[in-house]
Amino acid sequence: MSAQKGRATVKERAELALNDEFLVKAVKFTTERLRNGKKNASAEHGNWDEWRERGRQIRLHTIAHLDYYLNLFVENARANGVHVHFADKGEDAVAIAMDIAQRKAAKTVVKSKSMVSEELHLNHALEQIGVEAIETDLGEYIIQLAGEMPSHIVIPAIHKNRYQIADLLSEVAGEKLEADTTVLAGFVRKKLREKFLEADIGMTGCNFAIAETGSMVLFENEGNARMVTTVPKTQITLMGMERIIPSFEDLEVMATLLPRSATGQKLTMYMSAITGPKRTADADGPEEMHIIIVDNGRSLQLGDPEFQELLNCIRCGACLNACPVYRHIGGHAYGSTYSGPIGAVLTPALNKNVAEWDDIANASSLCGACYEACPVKIPLHEMLIYLRRRKVETGNGKAVETAGMKGFAALTGSSAAMKAALAIGKIGQRLVVRGGEIRTKLGPLKGWNSYRVTPSLPRRSFRDRWEKLNREVDADRPQMAPDMKRRMEQIVKERGKGGGGHGGH
């Protein structure tokens, strides 16, 4: 992970991103398109909050009983003829996949989109033993050629324009390809067709695993995941240990939430339920099927009341599209496999290294748009606060900030101190105030005043007026009408139920 992160901070990476005009426009355009798609699709479907709550309940229940459901899945998958493996760490999963590849004397592995595989940096490991690993999702293929990481969970090559893509593909083709989407996609179709047919192993991720039948379910639009699970003789599926749902009946809820939240589609073009390798008499499908169940930091979230709900995530990317920070800086600024609000929380959570990744937790205005967009209602914005708190609690806070907060506490904790400070401030600000505004970019105001002006302290503050106001109010204080009192009590009661939104967590 640290190699990916490099030395730059999220702040420096964001600055780079903000200065890349194409990137900013492309990210805004894409997220806008997906966000509107989701809005329309969820509104058209109707009762969206009821479906979300349903999705949340199913995920909460499954994760709370994960030992039961995962074990049930494993037993059923084995009975279906699948070889199941367990990996505590990323390296373990890589070792298992490499063992299988070596056993098969594999030369080529074709892959469909898998975030777990990105997490493990598996392609790199396979290349080291001379196995060519080919990403076959169009966007993933493009960024693989460019040697980059996905910048969006659903549209991985969001940051590339078609001229850049044409250059990359022209190199593969050995001739100049026109920068036309149809031409480029047509070339990739033809090129990857050959690869699908000659590949020894097909490798996939897993959107959902059905505990009661041992099936795995894939959602996709291009058909490459179907290729990968139909053509090669051996299939390897990498699956996060939390991908489980109990039944196909529950899949109806997930299939309702996931495509609509991700792209605004009613359903992805393909949804495939794979139950074991090909049957003996079948003429296609894999002869041998492996599922590698990966922990890699996920179990750290289990039993942690503040973060367990992270495991409910269905990887739709709606939080990225809703996030105003993501829309301005794009995915690479997050410096890890998972970007956007989910990445900001998931990355330090999976790595258990809050101190190293805390600057990501700071890259959020805590506006709550991610929670509002989340189809399974994960309170991401609150988790960001928990991360910040844990950072300070472990003694990794910034000294200047801690001192500042102590000073603020001292001022606001004492009426006299506050009064004195305001009096001094009113005199002191005369040096910098022009026309009721402060525009200096010196000292602590640099960041703020690079984009704004700061208002000056008013001549008469609320504190100055309070004594007179209080006297006026006291002189004429009516009794509260009983119906008003009832309404107040009712509102307070509603709050207890988490009324306004998501304060209940």
Partner: protein
Amino acid sequence: MIHHYPKLFESDPVQLARAERLRDKSYEFTQFLVNVLGVTDVGASFPHKVTYHPSCHGTRLLGVKNEPMALMSNVRGLEFVPLPFAEDCCGFGGTFAVKMADISGAMVSEKVDHVKETEAEVLVGLDMACLMNIAGNLRYRGEQVRVMHLAEVLAEGAGLA
């Protein structure tokens, strides 16, 4: 105050009781007017073109949705223009505005672009932090749009200010 105070004091029963008492008598301004007092028309008149920024914490945490519109729709002469992408955060976010100044700056600039698109004379909001942030960028860019809390609009419109 409503959601976080009880959590902050959960390990101190004395302070917790005080925090809960404070919480139970605290209301957002428009929720108090509309839902407690039952008032949607204060008899104000404000003949200006107005747009409205719904702040994140107001809408998403406190659930303020229809109350401000109910009040504004009863102000005589007020011409309401919807703000494009109104629900997007203005970029304030407390220390975020200083720690991640460039991202925050990009966000508030986008917000102000949308405010300008409406050609409103007045931007109304309910959260002083958002208003300070947006006003700061407007003034920085030399824009003349007035930035007011809804309470100021009602007070001025009713001749109280």
